[in-house]
Each structure stands twice: as C-alpha cells, then as structure tokens.
C-alpha cells in the first residue's frame, strides 16, 4: 500500500471512501512525519490524541459508508483559528495559555465535513509578517533549500507554518489567512497552492482578528483540486459575522477542467516593478503563453493606482490592528505582567512583554494614523485611495475575466535577511495587497523554479465571488506548468 502521506488530499479522500486506507493510518503516518520534522518548526501545538480520536470517529462513519466531504482527512490549522479547549496563540506570547471555549466557524465547518485536526500551525505573530520570523515560537523553516546550500530559508508569512507543513507533507492540507498576501506569498515560496477567497466568502468568526476589513481565511494545499475541495468546506454564510455574505457556495471542484475558450485574461503592466528578477518576468510570460494556449484571449491592461496599494495597506491594516489588539490587556486572558503598581503599569508591562517588535511597530503606526490631527491626512486619505483602487479593478474587470500577475517579487529568502529592514519586508506584499484592499479573490499556483531551484508562483485575480473562474484558470496554469517537484527531505 502506498504511504497515505504521499496522496493528495483528494486522492486520500477517495482512498478513504474506498477503504484502501483508514483515517487512523493516515493520521498516524502524518503524526510520525510531524515528529521527525521538528527542524521545520511548523507546528506550535500537535494534537495527537485529539487527531486519533477524530480519526477513529471518521473511520466508524466511513465503515458505515457515511461521512462528509473531508471525512477522515488530516489537516493542519493555522494558530489564528480558535479551536475549542486547544491552545490558540496567534503566534504571540500575549495569548499564553489561552484555550478558547469555542470553535471558529471555519474549523467547525471542516470538522462538520469530517476533517481531522493534527495540530496548530506556526505563524507570524498576529499574522503580521512576511517571513514567519515574528512568531513568538520562532521562525518556520522552508522545506525548500537553494541548490548546493543548506541556508535556512523563509517559508513566507504570515501562514508560514501552513505553507511549510503542506510542502513537507506534514498534513494533507492546511487552513491559512490572508490580510495582505499571507496565503499567496507563502504558497509562492513553497510551491503550494494558496487561495484567498472574496472578502465575505469565508466567516471571520473565531479567527483572531488582525485587520478586519482585509482578513480572509482560505486553504493552502498541494494542488488546485485540493484547494477547491477545502474552500468548499470552509466557505459559507455565517450570521455571526456581519461581513459574511449570504450566497450559495458553488462546487469549485466541478469547475476544474472546464474550457477556458474565450476567457479574457488581463496582464497589468504596473506589476512589472523595478528590481524584479528576470526569471519572475520570464515565468510571468510563460504564464501568459499557457493561458493563451488554453484558449484565453490576453488583454494588456493598466492599473495605475497599483503603486499606492502598499502605502494604503500599511495605513489601513495597522489602524485596524491597533484597535483590534487593544483587547490584549492582561485583564481577561493570556499573559499578564508579574510586576505592576497600578492599572496603567499593568497594561504597559503586559503589552511590552507580550507583544513582539513587529506587532508593536504596527500598533504604533496604527495609533498614529488614527490620531486627532493625522486622521484626515492618513487614514481618511488611505480609505479614499482604497475606494479608487476598488473602482479601478471594477473598470478592469469590465474588460477581462481574470488578471494574471506574479505572486511575489522574489523566491524564498534567507531567514534573517530582511528582519532589520521593515520596508524591504513589506515589499513582499506588493503584488498581493491589492486583492485585499479591493476584496477580490486571488490565488497563487506553483509555476516553476528559479536558477537556484527555488519555487516561484503565479497569481490569478478574479471578480468578486467568481472563484469558479479563478479555479478554472488555476487548473489550466497547473496543467500547463506541469510542476511536480517536491523538496528533498533534508529534515527527516
């Protein structure tokens, strides 16, 4: 029998249904791999007992010929999702010991469909970072290494634990979240498929908030089909989230393989930025050719406001974060400083000890841009530009069905390389933040390797709630790229 961890999520799903393998076998196989992969630091918490318990329950159902769309499939959960009675840290010291009494809607949906939880995945603190180095639990290491080098590389961020664990086959798939690119950039850096759905497609209830108007959860998976199946389970209207949208969830898997004939794919010239490696430019051109070969019409488009997207993002996201993170004050849960004289020093010491540098930086920036006297110049102006960026996309999507761009401006870089230069770090999000600002669905698909043998991804953007067309395009890219390289298991 093949090793169940070698199977994709959908292959495993089918094998489980055919009783070629049991969920407990698959779960134990993954737990064994996780145990050997300590060097990757992908998990904050491994929930082995809970996983086996869930697997046994799934096997019973499967034995009766019952079970949901993900019955018995072992998944990793980004530690931003609250999971009942299971430590949930958001990668932060300030949530020390926090075990929620509730389950996020997304994970509830996954368990409803039969998935098994292997554990909680490492991430940048409060999802703030592009390299997974801001985690209180230490950086995640990318399973990919440059040829001839054993330098440790970033798996991207903030969903670095998700991307690394999927790339290293430590789970069949993982949940992730994307506020400015936190699903798509890690996917690009680890040769995995990452989907950020339309804002409102997936419930935010029970997901620790970073920037409420931008946050959206989605899957990180080995291939496009896996991502389609996971998103179907994760998505749906949730009355507990006022920004969640009440419309039916299509069968994304059914959209795969459909004809792309006549689809118009836009190529925005503004995504050709200074200093971008020639290989990424070439890969992008290959993507254009692949889409053309699949029957698409290529349309050159212009999105002139793209250059403002990053500055706008780094005003709006910290502003919302500064307010969202006010609740971590040591009064109700999580870390509380031992030494304090009064309520003010309790707040100060708790937050000084509990938050890392990047989180503090963003709270400071966010507080500043919302302050009296600066609000109009920063926050209000940023919101106006955000609205115009949205309008610009609406205009572009009146001419095209999909937009094709690179996912990230570089391949995986060495851990430590950008930690002292926040602006360089923020530039990682240059191609991805636009989709968050405009609320559009976006996805990264592995497309090739650079000269060092490191993966690179291509990004597709689609109209709001048109994930089906996006999946169709992703599938075409995947087929054309024929990417089937996996990293050498140096860590095992």
């Amino acid at each position: 029998m093949t090793n169940p961890t070698e199977l994709s999520l959908t292959e495993l799903r089918d094998a489980l249904k055919k009783k070629e393998v049991t969920s407990l076998e698959a779960t134990d196989a993954y737990l064994a791999r996780i145990e050997k992969a300590g060097d990757l630091n992908a998990f904050i918490t491994v929930t082995a007992d809970k996983a086996r318990e869930m697997a046994k329950a799934s096997d019973e159902k499967l034995g009766r010929g019952e079970g949901g769309a993900l019955e018995g499939v072992p998944l990793g959960i980004k530690d931003l999702f609250c999971t009942e009675e299971t430590l949930t840290t958001a990668g932060s010291h300030i949530l020390d010991g926090f075990e929620p009494k509730y389950e996020s809607t997304v994970t509830s949906n996954l368990w409803r469909d039969g998935a098994v939880m292997l554990g909680k995945l490492n991430m940048d603190e409060f999802a703030m970072g592009s390299s997974n180095e801001t985690s209180f639990y230490g950086p995640v290491v990318n399973p990919w290494r440059a040829e001839g080098s054993d330098a440790k590389l970033t798996p991207g961020g903030s969903s670095g634990g998700s991307s690394a664990s999927v790339a290293a086959r430590l789970c069949a798939g993982a949940t992730a979240t994307d506020t400015g690119g936190s699903i798509r950039q890690p996917a690009s850096l680890t040769a995995t498929v990452g989907v950020k759905p339309t804002y409102g497609r997936v419930s935010r209830w029970g997901v620790v908030a970073f920037a409420s108007s931008l946050d959206q959860a989605g899957p990180l998976a080995r291939d496009v089909r896996d991502a389609a199946v996971m998103l179907k389970s994760m998505a749906g209207h949730d009355p507990k989230d006022s920004t969640s949208v009440d419309r039916p969830v299509p069968d994304y898997e059914a959209a795969l393989g459909g004809s792309l004939k006549g689809l118009k794919v836009g190529v925005p010239k503004e995504y050709r930025i200074d200093g971008m490696p020639a290989e990424i430019e070439q890969l992008w051109q290959s993507g254009v050719d692949w889409m053309k070969d699949a029957g698409c019409e290529i349309v050159d488009i212009s999105l002139p406001l793209t250059k403002y997207a990053l500055p706008v993002y780094y005003i709006v996201a910290p502003a919302e974060a500064s307010s969202n993170l006010a609740r971590y004050d040591g009064v109700k849960y999580g870390h509380r400083a031992k030494d304090y004289d009064d309520i003010l020093s309790m707040y100060e010491n708790t937050r000084a000890e509990g938050f890392g540098d990047e989180v503090k930086r963003r709270i400071l920036v966010g507080t500043y841009v919302l302050s009296a006297g600066y609000y109009d110049a920063y926050y209000l102006r940023a919101q106006k530009v955000r609205k115009r960026i949205f309008d610009e996309f609406v205009e572009a999507f009146s001419k095209v069905d999909l937009i094709l761009t690179p996912s990230a401006p570089s391949a995986a870089f060495e851990l430590g390389a950008k930690m002292n230069d926040p602006v360089q770090m923020y530039l990682n999000d240059v191609f991805t933040v636009t989709a968050n600002l405009a609320g559009l669905p976006g996805a990264s698909v592995p497309a090739g390797l650079d000269k060092d043998g490191l993966p690179l991804g291509l990004q597709l953007l689609a109209k709001p709630f048109d994930e089906e067309t996006m999946f169709k395009g992703m599938h075409a890219l995947e087929q054309a790229a024929g990417f089937d390289v996996t990293p050498e298991e140096w860590w095992a």
């Binding site: 999702f81 609250c82 949930t88 958001a90 949530l95 926090f98 929620p100 009494k101 509730y102 996020s104 935010r204 209830w205 029970g206 997901v207 620790v208 908030a209 920037a211 409420s212 108007s213 009355p239 507990k240 989230d241 006022s242 920004t243 502003a319 919302e320 500064s322 307010s323 993170l325 006010a326 609740r327 004050d329 009064v331 109700k332 849960y333 309520i343 707040y347 507080t367 919302l370 302050s371 009296a372 609000y375 926050y379």
Partner: protein, 499 residues
C-alpha cells in the same frame, strides 16, 4: 420668541447660564446591542456575559435589530430626522471594564439627526429645546474597587448593553429648564416604551454641560450661531437623577461666575458630581482628555434601512404626551395644568382615562389628582401599585353620581380600600357596610324631631341666627351615621324650624 431668562447676579454684573444635556438612556431590550446575552438588571456578577461581551479573540458584533427599531421610535418621538444610512465607529480607550479596548458607538453618522421637543416649566410656561442627535452605543461594564484592598473587580453584565445617547442643543437657560427637559425626555421614552426611565437602576443618566456668559451674549449667539459668545463649558459626567441635574447646574453656574469674577478662567474639563456635598470637582482636564481615535468599525456594515420601515414604526407609535395633553383639555375640559400633570406620566394618564371614560372629566380629574395622588404621595407609592384600582375609583364615582352615597361617604370608602380594610367592588362595600344614603324623608324627619326636642336652647338661637342651622345639619348627619341625604336634611330642617 420669549425666553424664560433667569439672570444670575454677580458682583460685576449680570450673567446668563447656558445648559446642554447628553442623556444616556438604556434601550428597553431583552438582549444587548451586539450580542445575544441578556440585558436584564439585577443578575449576579458576570452572569450576563457572552463571548462577544468579554471580547474573546475572534468574536464579532452583530447588530440587534430590535435596538435599532427602538432608536428609530425614540427619534420619531423627538420629532427628529431619521437617517436611513448611519454607521458605527470605534471609540478607543483602555479601561478594565471596557473589554474590547473600544466602545462601539456612532460618531459622524448617527441614526437620528436634529429634532425638537416642547418642555413644560412649573408655572405653565412652555419652551422648545432642540435635539442635536441621537446615536446608539454600547455601555461599558462596572469596575468595583472596594471589595478588596489591593484588587479591583469587574462586572461585565452591563458590557454591551444598548444605550441611546440623546444630545440636546444648548437651549436651556437655568437649572429648572435643564431639569424640566430631562423630565420631559424621560416621559417621552417611557411613553414610547423604548427606555424604562428607571434612574435608580441607571437606565437614564446625564452628562451636564454648563457655561456662563455676560447677560445679552446668549442672544448674540442665537443670532449668529457663533459659539464665541458663549463661555467655556464644563461637562459633569454621569448625573443619575433629575434633582442632581438641577444641583449640578446651580453649583456650576455659581462656581463659574465666581471664578470669572475673581479674574480666573474656566477650563474645558470633565467634572464629577458628589451627591453628598452637592458640589462638582475636576475629573480630568482638557490636557488629559483622551484621543479616542474614532474610526468606522470594520466588523460592521453601515446601518441601512428603508423609509418604509420608518413609516411602519411611525404608524405604530402611541399617542405622545403633548398630543395627549391637548386631547385631555379638549375632550375632558381639563385645565392646562391638570392635563399636563396627568399626561406627563403614561401610567397616570391611563389611570385617569379609564376613570374618566363615560363619567366626565372634571370629577375624575379631581379624584385622581386630588384624593388619589395625595394618598399615594403620603404612602410613598407609585400609581402602578395603587391599592385603589381605576375600576374601583370609577365605580365609586358612579355611586356618587347616582346618589347612592355622598361625597363624604365616598371618601371614607376610598380610604377603606386604600388602607386595605376593604377590597372588591365599592357598590358591595357600601351595601355590606350599610352606607347607602338615607333619602327616606320619614326616617330623616324622625331624627330631626328628636334633635329639635332634645335641644331647645339651640332652637331658640337658630330662629335669631339662621346661619347656625349648620349645627343641626351636623347633628342629623352624625345621628344618621353620615348616610342621610344632605339635601333632604336641609329641606326638612328648614321646614321644621320654620326658617
């Protein structure tokens, strides 16, 4: 427009006081503004707290439609503009009883805009007070500092309870006007059922804004709209009774005049009222004022509804106090004063109306505002728990009107019921206690004859001074146990005494 202008005399000249109120009224709702937990008063500490109220990570607010409806109702009751598009903002500050680290409120785009209400003053004068806005917001929890020497406790039962903040324009000119406005506001929300107006439970409280300016400046402000004519205001927070509101205005006006006349200046600051001393003191100065960093709450969509819903709510509004007052004057012939006294309290108005219906207003008004309110006052009871029901009082009035009992006997029966010595239908009480008026002239003549025979001296006297016949009336009434028909007694006495 004539204004009741109360000038305050200072040592350097006359001053005017200008008052504006921000009243927080708790929405009468079973559940909180953004969570499903109970908003009932009186639960044990932290019993009414949901995950949302405690600001657990990842929790999201969902607007309570019922609370929105109550805010619209209140806006309509204040004759105010209803904004069919409004928005919730976050007001950011740190305090342990504010678990989110921000209060969800409405800043730039409130659900209700400008309006105006009529306010009755003692002495019958009426003023108009403008409403600036009404917005919905969350209440905070409660910090308790006196349970342990080195620790504070937090009760989150109130955290997230829906409040309406009703902001007046600076249209009040004295402590009396401020108090009358607060009273009228309370009457309106109680009529509407949107707030129970219960001050002891904190359902209504006011932030009282007071400033003083030299006499004449207020009119210049009214003409120009320029705030430079008004003095710097202070805001006294969380005043939880109408009486205290009056005290705050009086105290602040006098204090500010003294400061200004001795060459000082007023700081724009937040103050606290001490009910024990009747004084206010600085809570925080402008320099310490929070920068609340308001911004639209990204967890909530803008609050939008259509005109049709507003009209539906408008159609369901009860008769409001001003309309009721005028109807009482027109339909029952009441004086403006009596009509206002009754109409300003819905329970009193309802009581009066069920007594007056089909019986005529004057007699009913006399009984309700006189005997009943007097007795309730003395017993320190509310109309809601009056021992004499409206039906009983109505029946009592019927007995007077058909001559079954006299007004005097009616008062006795009323007292018997009020004191709890009798219950049930007054007609039965009169019957069983034998209190029916004696109209049988034979029986009265017999008593009259006996009294005339027993009092020859008085008989001599009354022939010279006919006015002393009252003594005989009293004797006859006494002998009849108060049951003799007074008119019949008078006639028989006159005849027998030859007057």
């Amino acid at each position: 427009m004539t204004k009741s202008r109360k000038l305050l005399q200072g040592s350097t000249g006359d001053w005017e006081v200008v008052v504006g109120l921000e009243v927080h009224a708790q929405v009468s709702s079973k559940s909180k503004l953004f969570s499903g937990s109970s908003a009932e008063y009186g639960a044990g500490p932290n019993e009414n707290v949901s995950l949302v109220d405690a600001a657990m990570p990842g929790m999201l607010p969902v607007i309570n439609k019922y609370c929105v409806e109550q805010a619209i109702r209140t806006g309509l009751g204040l004759n105010a503009k209803i904004n069919t598009w409004s928005r919730f903002d976050r007001k950011n500050y740190f305090y342990p009883d504010l678990p989110q680290g921000y209060q969800i409120s409405q800043y730039k785009d409130p659900i209700v805009g400008e309006g105006e209400i009529e306010v009755e003053l003692d002495g019958g004068e009426t003023i108009n007070v403008g409403i600036e806005r009404l917005h919905l917001e969350q209440d905070a929890g409660k910090s308790i500092h006196d349970l342990a020497p080195n620790e504070s406790y937090v009760d989150l039962n109130r955290s997230g309870v829906a409040l309406m903040e009703i902001v007046s324009k600076p249209d009040m000119r004295s402590a009396e006007e401020g108090a009358a406005y607060f009273t009228k506001l309370r009457t309106i929300v109680r009529y509407l059922g949107t707030c129970d107006g219960n001050m002891e439970e904190g359902s209504m409280r006011a932030d009282v804004n007071v400033s003083v300016c030299p006499a004449g400046n207020y009119d210049k402000f009214r003409e120009t709209g320029d705030f430079k004519y008004l003095g710097t205001r202070t805001e006294t927070k969380n005043v939880n009774s109408i009486r205290f509101t009056k005290q705050v205005i009086d105290y602040e006006a006098r204090r500010q005049i003294e400061v200004l006349e001795s060459g000082g200046s007023i700081d724009q600051e937040t103050r606290l009222f001490d009910p024990k001393t009747g004084e206010t003191r600085t809570m925080r100065s402008k320099e310490d004022a929070h920068d609340y960093r308001y911004f639209p709450d990204p967890d909530l969509l803008p609050l939008e509804f259509d005109e049709a819903w507003v009209e539906e709510i408008r159609a369901s509004l009860p008769e409001l106090p001003d309309a009721k007052k005028h109807r009482f004057m027109d339909d029952y012939g009441l004086s403006a004063y009596d009509a206002a006294v009754l109409a300003m309290d819905k329970d009193k108005a309802d009581y009066f109306e069920s007594v007056a219906k089909g019986r005529g207003g004057k007699l009913a008004a006399n009984w309700v505002t006189g005997d009943l309110f007097g007795a309730l006052n003395k017993a320190d009871r509310e109309i809601g728990d009056s021992p004499v029901s409206a039906a009983q009082l109505g029946s009592l009035i019927d007995l007077i009107k058909d001559g079954t009992i006299s007004g005097k006997i009616a008062k006795d029966v009323f007292a018997l019921i009020f004191e709890g010595e009798e219950t049930g239908d007054p007609a039965d009480i009169v019957e069983s206690r034998g209190l029916k008026q004696v109209t049988d002239t034979g029986a009265i003549e017999k008593i009259v004859d006996e009294i005339i025979a027993a009092n020859p001296k008085q008989v001599e006297q009354v022939k010279e001074k006919p006015k002393t016949m009252g003594w005989f009336v009293g004797q006859v009434m006494k002998a009849s146990g108060g049951k003799a028909n007074p008119q019949a007694v008078n006639e028989i006495l006159k005849k027998k005494l030859g007057l």
